[in-house]
Amino acid sequence: MQKLFVIAALLLAALSAHAAAPAPATYQVGIHNFHFQPMQVVVPAGATVTWTNHDEEPHVVTSAGNGFKSSPALDTDDHYSAVFTRPGTYAYYCSIHPQMTGTIVVK
């Protein structure tokens, strides 16, 4: 019983911390018909960006200039996440379809 109480207290603490300073959220970028959507995402420092490939073609999220770790090949419905800790503008593209470009702006 005491154990449960401790867990509840911890949960409450976690929740209140969450309310006080908004925790870095996860931002979604979809890949549809050879486009990153949205093409530009503005996120706070520490945010996670998750890409999901909805195409039948594989795609690769490739950082232009090694600003973040590039993804492996994403097959249909595969996800890839990267955490952006430092403010800046991170351009990326698909290495097998370089006409596909996108930008993550970290504030």
């Binding site: 018909n33 050879f34 195409d55 039948e56 073609e57 594989p58 690769v60 492996p72 090949a73 097959d75 249909t76 290495s95 097998i96 379809h97 370089p98 006409q99 596909m100």
Partner: protein, 316 residues
């Protein structure tokens, strides 16, 4: 300025090069292409008919995409196996088979293994490989070249001679440009210049590449950014045949003495240029019709008249 062809501007081509023909054949087997003096003559295919004076033949296989598992072809292993069976059923054993890239869908080692294993079943003297952009994902082609041959200096490109024909295998799937266009790069172009330098203009040339070597549909990356520089080196030859894959359908173009042929895939077709929002598998095929859209290509060389006979085979 004898060598000014090396600086040819594709937007300002000379009038004799402007007289080009464009031929398209969308679907269906049974088109025989006889090329003579840079002009293609289409005729009916007599299935399995031998060219009595053919000195040798080879087969082109392309875009097997092992690892693909969706509509319209959840089993590209089976369709590659059928393609090889079709090669083995030819009355004349091909001297070699060339796979013009996209062996794999995702550059995975097990996908490369599958292709290598399956092609061991091909009754032919040798199998040549060049990479597609799906084969160089993540490592710029290191695993592919280690497995299937690094060519010149480990960069993948190479050439060889066979019965008087000079074959050139180019790599145009690394460092893709702009809208996804293929790219040869200065190193490869410098090598090509040297490779061709000693050849007489009457030497028949056959070029293999994965991506089209002309601006077929640049908005989808169906072309090669610096192909004009390679073609400038090739245009002094009296017979040049360029065979590529990538777009999973047959298209032809003739420009001067250079003839371009794109090949079918052994896995799945793609839409016609610009039809639909993007390239990718053509999914809504009529039931049971996949095999009308995929297949292999058989090329017979006839010594003496500089002609190559190209025969398309679907799996249907």
């Amino acid at each position: 300025m004898q060598d000014d062809r090396d600086d040819i501007d594709p937007d300002n081509i000379r009038p004799d090069r402007r007289r080009f023909l464009e031929c398209m054949a969308w679907a269906g087997a049974g088109t025989l292409w006889l090329m003579q003096g840079g002009v293609a003559h289409a005729g009916a295919l007599l299935k399995g008919a031998m060219q009595p004076d053919a000195t040798f033949s080879f087969v082109q296989i392309s875009d097997s995409h092992i690892g693909f598992h969706k509509a319209p072809n959840p089993d590209p292993v089976a369709s590659l196996r059928q393609s090889i069976a079709q090669v083995n059923a030819q009355p004349q054993r091909p001297d070699f088979v060339v796979h013009t890239g996209d062996l794999s869908h995702l550059s995975k080692p097990e996908q490369f293994d599958t292709v290598a294993e399956l092609l061991k079943e091909a009754k032919t003297g040798h199998v040549f490989y060049i990479p597609g952009e799906h084969d160089v994902i993540g490592d710029d082609g290191k695993a592919f070249f280690a497995r299937f041959g690094g060519g010149v200096d480990g960069n993948g490109w190479y050439s060889f001679d066979h019965h008087g024909v000079h074959f050139v295998a180019l790599v145009n799937v690394r460092h893709l440009q702009g809208a996804g266009l293929g790219f040869l790069g200065a190193d490869q172009l410098a090598w090509l210049r040297k490779d061709l330098a000693g050849l007489s203009a009457s030497t028949p040339i056959v070029v293999f590449a994965h991506m089209p070597m002309w601006s077929l549909y640049p908005a989808w990356g169906w072309g090669t950014q610096d192909s004009a520089q390679a073609l400038a080196l090739l245009q002094r030859f009296s017979s040049v045949t360029v065979l590529n894959g990538h777009i999973h359908q047959i298209q032809q173009k003739i420009e001067g003495t250079i003839t371009f042929h794109t090949a079918r895939s052994t896995a799945y077709p793609q839409p016609a240029p610009g039809v639909g929002p993007a390239p990718g598998p053509l999914q809504n095929l009529p039931a049971g019709k996949l095999h009308d859209y995929i297949g292999v290509r058989d090329v017979r060389h006839v010594r003496g008249n500089g002609a190559l006979a190209i025969t398309e085979h679907t799996l249907a």
